[in-house]
């Protein structure tokens, strides 16, 4: 039975070994691609197999429960989807592809570790495993024009990342100093007992900083536009989607440390949420490059996720979970289109999507659905997630926050709508047809179905998430 507890991790670990051996050989780009897709596919099944596993490992530093297993399944699913949409890996040269896949797999492994870690040092190590592998993915972009733009992005990413980690470690030292323990379940009662002490609140807030960086919450967002733009489309697809799941999982765990009377942290979260939403949406309005636009819109969505955390309630956390899972699907759907439209792995501007309805009707539909979903228009998942978050936040009396969040929906619609307009109404001029192979078609249809299904029938996932969250403690 212990095997089921650790099955996804073990499997990914073995998979990374396989990839490691492939990196030693020459001209293994093809094999490593097939291997990693196979690993990711089986890993999803392994996660399903251990979905209901429950127990503690490694002296209770590692907890396997419904909460972690949901996230693991989503991370694995997201990983698989990113691999499938970036099958051709246009933006990365052949010689480094095995390494590329290896690091992507390691990053996923780190995230899988992360969502189960319930001890500060384990959290730190898991987070670093996933982050450092990600830092390496960014500069692996093919340097076609000799601009070394991806190097700049990678440096920015790693510098900001290290600072955020430093902030987090500093916060952890406070928590340890105040309580004498690094285990979350022991931290919780002790921190609740000293909830109003400023040091405790500062400690918690600083620990959150590390995950704000991953989730790209204001003011830890500075890396977003450059990294999104500088990294290859496939890398951005990964950075924009899967790590955010891990970040939200850990933010939920850390937010639980906040006692009900810890209103200062709630106020901080509220302010960050509002700043993220306004900053992301206002700057996204003027973007020309679609990846940059999605980066800023991601900042705004991160602000929305915080709406669930400020409630300090199980239902709120569940709403955040639902929202980030929905976001994963929506953003991956966008990147399916971006990666397919991009011919040789170059960046895609919004104008490049002109007349996509003629060049690739299915992709145009996918993009339209995901844009309206991101904008929060029903009947798509974006609306349902937003609605549940707003309901939860208003229930706890955050009226101003809810009104500001609602206003942001109205701001954001403009840039999403511009993409839709370009896609459906503009003339393709001389832009070539886009070839959509069978598998990409299937992936985009599946994603669209999920976007609609989660939007009209959210009950199942919300119930699951609620029971997962309430079982954490």
């Amino acid at each position: 039975m212990k095997l089921a507890l650790f099955a996804p991790e073990l499997f990914l670990l073995m998979g990374s070994l396989v990839l490691f051996f492939l990196t030693i050989g020459k001209d293994k780009a093809r094999q490593s691609r097939n291997a990693v897709i196979g690993i990711a596919l089986i890993n999803v099944l392994v996660c399903l197999f251990s979905f209901r596993a429950e127990g503690n490992l490694f002296y209770d530093a590692y907890r396997v429960d419904l909460f972690s297993q949901i996230f693991k399944l989503m991370i694995s699913g997201g990983f698989l989807a990113v691999l499938l949409l970036g099958r051709q890996l246009k933006g990365v040269s052949e010689d480094v592809r095995p390494e590329y896949y290896l690091f992507m797999l390691l990053s996923t492994l780190g995230l899988v570790f992360l969502v189960s870690s319930v001890e500060l040092l384990s959290i730190f190590i898991a987070l670093e495993l996933s982050s450092f592998s990600l830092y390496l993915l960014v500069p692996m972009r093919d340097d076609r024009h000799g601009l070394r733009y991806q190097m700049e992005s990678a440096i920015k990413y790693i510098l900001f990342g290290v600072v955020a980690t430093g902030v987090m470690l500093f916060g952890m030292s406070y928590l340890f100093g105040l309580t004498g323990t690094t285990y979350l379940n022991q931290l919780l009662p002790k921190l609740h007992a000293i909830a109003t002490q400023p040091a405790a609140m500062i400690g918690i807030a600083m620990v959150m900083g590390g995950f704000f960086f991953k989730l790209a919450v204001f003011p830890f967002h500075f890396w977003v536009p450059d990294v999104y733009e500088g990294a290859s489309n496939e890398t951005t697809a990964f950075i924009a989607s899967v790590p955010k799941l891990g970040a939200v999982a850990l933010l939920i765990r850390v937010t639980m440390l906040v006692a009900p009377q810890g209103q200062a942290v709630v106020a901080l979260l509220t302010i960050l949420a509002v700043c993220s939403m306004f900053y992301g949406n206002l700057i996204a309005l003027v973007q020309k490059d679609i990846k940059r636009m999605l980066g800023f819109s991601g900042i705004a969505h991160a602000g929305f996720v915080l709406l669930g955390l400020v409630t300090l309630k199980d239902t709120g956390y569940a709403a955040s979970m639902f929202y980030i899972i929905g976001y994963l699907v929506m953003i991956i759907a966008c990147f399916v289109v971006i990666c397919t439209v991009s011919k040789e792995g170059e960046n895609v501007t919004i104008d490049d999507l002109s007349g996509l309805h003629k060049r690739a009707p299915l992709l145009a539909l996918t993009l339209g659905v995901s844009m309206f979903a991101l904008a929060g228009i029903p009947p798509f998942v974006g609306f349902m997630g937003k609605f549940i978050l707003l309901t939860g936040a208003l229930r706890e009396g955050h009226l101003a926050l809810v009104i500001l969040a609602a206003l942001n929906t109205a701001i954001a619609i403009y840039y999403y709508l511009s993409v839709v307009r370009i896609t459906f109404c503009a003339d393709p001029e001389n832009r070539p047809l886009v070839k959509v192979d069978m598998l990409t078609g299937i992936v985009s249809v599946v994603l669209m179905v999920i976007i609609i299904a989660m939007g009209v029938a959210p009950a199942g996932i919300i119930d699951l998430a609620t029971s997962a969250v309430s079982a954490i403690l």
Binding site: P378, P379, T391, R395, A410
Partner: protein, 508 residues
């Protein structure tokens, strides 16, 4: 659930919502422009025929919601899939279902490119519009209310005129911005009552402050949709650029959602606030009537003329609603239907001219009466109806509204009267030019062999039938709404009397 009469037999309402949606899905997989046209026509016709059962099975003696369906949907938040119609929504549902086949027919030749997508958009529109009128759960209502923006946006943005980008984005932004606060208000109401059931929210003793804010959120959303002065600026742009069917749907059904929202939500849920804001809204309505009339008088573009006349006519409807008495509200509901029929018909007429001359300029369409006698006959009847000529449908509606208005406030009603005169002025101006023109008419002889085709007569004839039917014998239409309207007026009055009593008690 005492407000709902469950329908255990054939689920009419669900079928009406999902049939067009299923049709749209089917069209997605069927290639060919003509398949799309015929497919959409068949689906809308079947929907219309099914909807007739609603009228025959409707029980006008009860104010409860009929043909009810009630299923749990999202238990964690107590969201249900609840449908039902009463005397207020019945006619609007029928208006929608009966108009849609005409919209499809009206686009038969007008739409030449991407026919399949166009028909899919129309069918999705039909589903969501019907759902809005039937939903008794606020979340369901909101989902359909917003979801409708997508196909409508695409209708304008893809098949629209030269300034379609501007018009479509303006339409989307305006309506979305209006309804985000509606969402907050819905959630706030849910937190007070514990469910999203619309009838459950009615007649509750909310505090006056709470009612104010909820009312304002409602008002913003619905006033933009109606549109009331000063929120009307999206309307002319959207109407002028939209293709004919889009204009018809927009004018005949979409605008009614705003006034329907007032009736269904503002009045029964926030009666005290309604009462307090009533004078301002009445004057806004009067301004809208006069403003729409004067602006219509100055238009050279026929479509713009009809669009601005809509602002005026909808002003009458809001006036009728907010006089808060039985005649006014019944007149308003009837006028909603009338406006749907008449303005829809006028837009179709303008579209028919446009298909021939490729211009909507009044100056290009002068003097065609001599060459297109059938066309101008129809146009004359619809114009007369638009200016509320006795014997046509709008006369009955406007008359009732003014009766209600005079009973409420003589100055307001007196100020609205010139609106009726203005309507006559701009409609006769248009008619005079189109039918006779002057000695400087452009040569229209080439239109001689291009009078209305059988298809176009089939489109306009049913509308003309209803114009005269409602105009000469409005009883069957008024009868179905009596009970519901009486109930609604009672709801408002009881709540207002209660609050007045509370104030008095506190004063002593």
């Amino acid at each position: 659930m005492d407000f709902l009469i469950l329908n255990n037999g054939f689920p009419y309402l669900s079928v009406l919502i999902f049939l067009p949606l299923a049709g749209a899905l089917a069209l997605l997989f069927l290639p060919g422009d003509n398949t799309a046209r015929w497919g959409a026509l068949i689906v809308t016709c079947v929907t219309a025929i099914i909807s007739l059962n609603l009228y025959s099975g409707f029980d006008p003696t009860t104010a409860k919601y009929q043909f009810g369906e009630h299923n749990a949907w999202f238990p964690a938040l107590n969201i249900c899939y609840t449908l039902g119609i009463d005397g207020i929504s019945l006619l609007l549902v029928l208006l929608t279902t009966l108009l849609m086949p005409l919209c499809v027919l009206g686009s038969w030749k007008y739409i030449e490119k991407r026919v399949r997508e166009f028909m899919i958009c129309l069918l999705i529109m039909e589903s969501s519009m019907l759902g809005v009128f039937m939903a008794l759960d606020f979340v369901l209502f909101y989902i359909l209310w917003e979801a409708m923006l997508i196909p409508m946006y695409l209708l304008i943005a893809i098949w629209g005129g030269p300034r379609k980008t501007y018009a479509s984005i303006k339409f989307f932004l305006y309506t979305l911005a209006g309804s985000v606060m509606l969402l907050v208000a819905i959630i706030a109401l849910y937190l007070k009552t514990g469910s999203f059931s619309i009838p459950n929210m009615m007649g509750k003793a909310y505090s006056v402050d709470f009612q104010y804010w909820v009312f304002l959120a409602f008002f913003l959303a619905f006033a933009i949709k109606v549109p009331m002065f000063p929120f009307h600026t999206w309307l002319p742009a959207a109407h002028v650029e939209a293709p004919t069917a889009g204009s018809v749907v927009l004018a005949s059904v979409l605008l009614k959602m705003g006034t329907y929202g007032f009736l269904r939500f503002c009045l029964p849920i926030t009666p005290v606030a309604t009462y307090m804001f009533m004078p301002y809204i009445l004057w806004l309505s009067v301004i809208g009537i006069l403003y729409g009339g004067f602006t219509a008088l100055a238009q050279q573009d026929m479509k713009k003329l009809v669009a601005y006349s809509s602002v005026g006519h909808m002003g009458f409807v809001t006036l009728g609603i907010f006089v808060l008495n039985k005649q006014g509200i019944e007149g308003a509901i009837l006028q909603m239907i009338n406006h749907g029929i008449t303005t829809g018909a006028l837009f179709l007429c303008v579209g028919m001219i446009y298909e021939r001359t490729h211009s909507r300029e009044l100056s290009k369409a002068t003097g065609i009466g001599k060459y297109m006698p059938i066309y101008v006959t129809f146009l004359t009847f619809f114009s007369l109806s638009s200016l509320a000529f006795p014997g046509t449908n709008s006369f009955v509606g406007e008359f009732l509204i003014l009766v209600g208005g005079f009973a409420k406030s003589i100055p307001v009603a007196a100020c609205a009267i010139p609106g009726a005169v203005l309507a006559a002025a701009y409609m006769f101006r248009m008619l005079q030019k189109v039918v006779w023109g002057s000695e400087r008419n452009p040569d229209q002889a080439w239109l001689k062999s291009m009078d209305l085709s059988v298809r176009e007569i089939i489109i306009l004839a049913p509308l003309l039938l209803f114009v005269l039917w409602i105009g000469l014998a409005p009883t069957p239409f008024l009868d179905v709404m009596h009970t519901s309207v009486t109930h609604l007026v009672a709801q408002v009055n009881v709540a207002c009397l209660d609050s007045v009593r509370v104030v008095q008690v506190m004063g002593h």
